[in-house]
Amino acid sequence: MPTYRTASEEETVALGERLARVLPPHGLVLLTGNLGAGKTTLAKGIVSGLGAAPAEEVSSPTFTLIHEYGNGRVYHVDLYRLEEPRELATLGLDELFERDALVLIEWGERFGRFLPAERTEIRIRAVDHDEREIEVTQSL
């Protein structure tokens, strides 16, 4: 899949809405990128593009770990606070992957080998103050 560029938060949300239409209907999507790159912003667009919740209702799951939208059609997960694989095991993510749901995970690359190999990865990079480069790759 190609690389995209956005020039503002609004454009990143809009790109997420467009990506929602081409992402697999279920399974793992890793959202990677530094602090402040715009992972939650892109997640807003994806959740809204899938019609699971309006973009403004999607907030950061850092503390709460898992947010669910659209009656279990989309899960937005954040592993930022997790230190060890042991903690990951207790979150019950395996159960989410078995469902017919899209599972968006922030900071998941730290636990890459404990997550399904079949995944989509969306890398977000801050190019300039508001500009972002967004690259989508799929692997089996």
């Binding site: 402040g36 950061s60 503390f63 709460t64 898992i66 606070r81 207790t90 979150l91």
Partner: protein, 359 residues
């Protein structure tokens, strides 16, 4: 009349017994218990398994400390949401089993309403009850909400964060600078030593609801500032300190923090506080509130308390004590009292609701 409260929505496993909605007879929080050894020294974190390990001894200790027998209870209250389903289930299921076994009625409580009641309870106990309508600012690691609160505990959502919670901003900025988790306490301790006017952080104007918060931009602004000020050596030194000693004293942190970083922390904290208080005051004005209630973990922040006092708002501002700011079960039992009076009981087939909203 005594209510047993049980809370397990996130990291803490907690139980408490509260009498008549005002007197906290016991309040036990598993991650802060002095008797860690008794429970294997495990700090409950994230896991329903850890909640499972703690729930029985924690409830037993809350009952023992208050000298309460199960059959003396008027109700058993448990957090039903929002939170992690696996964690919520442990407390809720245990509450249901106790209710089923004893015939004591079950009351389901919203975690966010619990936070509001922590402050309401203490205001009543202090003889200065909250006057309605009130604005409630619930501010923690996971929540940043403004509610209108009317007589009879009716709620209306006035605003909320569009991205990060305020407590999360403290945590992420602290981690980025090499301090420990949670970040709120260390930033709060060091901030008074810095010049809060040194770094100017501005908030982007948001479209839509003027009472919504946003902290993501501030977090990114701190990151940019750090990247452009050659701070890698001091950050590495603090991380090294943390590796040697998981809980450094404020003096050790201070010794590892140059003045310029103290100024950054002070400026950051002031920006968070300004964002919280400006919108809370605007919310209060919009409903002609007669009081402002602050609750949740960030209510511990001494800078926020001082700024609220100094703001000269034309209505009283209520803060909970530190012990009732962070997650606890006394607030769950307190929130259950008005429901007990109304006969608002839950049936035993009630499910945990991860996304429960208050209004």
């Amino acid at each position: 009349m005594r209510i047993l409260g049980i809370e397990s929505s996130c990291d803490e496993t907690a139980a408490a017994v509260v009498e008549d909605g005002v007197t906290v007879l016991s309040s036990v929080v598993a991650s802060q218990m002095s008797t860690h050894g008794k429970y294997g020294g495990v700090v409950p974190e994230l896991a329903s398994r850890e909640h499972l390990r703690a729930i029985v001894p924690v409830v037993r200790e809350a009952l023992d400390l208050s000298g309460t027998k199960l059959e003396d209870l008027a109700a058993i209250a448990a957090t039903v949401g929002p939170g992690l389903v696996g964690s919520l289930l442990v407390g809720l299921t245990y509450a249901k089993s106790l209710s089923f076994a004893t015939g004591v009625p079950l009351i389901a409580v919203n975690h966010i309403e619990g936070h509001i009641h922590a402050t309401v309870l203490e205001a009543r106990r202090a003889g200065t009850p909250v006057e309605f309508p009130a604005v409630a600012l619930v501010v923690s690691g996971g929540h940043t909400h403004l509610f209108e609160l009317r007589e009879g505990f009716e709620y209306r959502l006035l605003g909320r964060t569009r991205d990060d919670a305020a407590g999360e901003a403290f945590d992420k900025v602290a981690k980025l600078l090499g301090y420990s988790y949670p970040g709120g306490p260390v930033v709060d301790q060091l901030s008074p030593l810095g010049d809060a006017a040194a770094v100017r952080f501005t908030f982007a104007k948001m479209k839509g609801n003027a009472l919504d918060f946003s902290f993501s931009g501030l977090k990114t602004a701190v990151l940019r500032w750090v990247e452009s000020h050659d701070m890698q050596a001091e950050i590495a030194a603090r991380r090294a300190l943390l590796r040697e000693n998981p809980s450094p004293t404020p003096e050790q942190w201070l010794a590892a923090t140059p003045q310029r970083t103290l100024d950054l922390l002070a400026s950051f904290q002031r920006a968070v506080i300004a964002e919280l208080l400006t919108r809370a005051a605007a919310a209060a004005e919009s409903i002609a509130a007669r009081s402002l209630i602050v609750s949740g973990g960030v209510a511990c922040n001494s800078g926020l308390r001082a700024a609220a006092k100094a703001a000269g708002l034309p209505y009283p501002v209520y803060f909970p004590s530190v012990g009732l700011s962070t997650d606890n079960a006394a607030m769950i039992a307190a929130a259950a009292f008005p429901k007990l009076a109304r006969g608002d009981f839950a049936s035993l087939d009630i499910a945990a609701q991860a996304n429960l909203t208050l209004a």
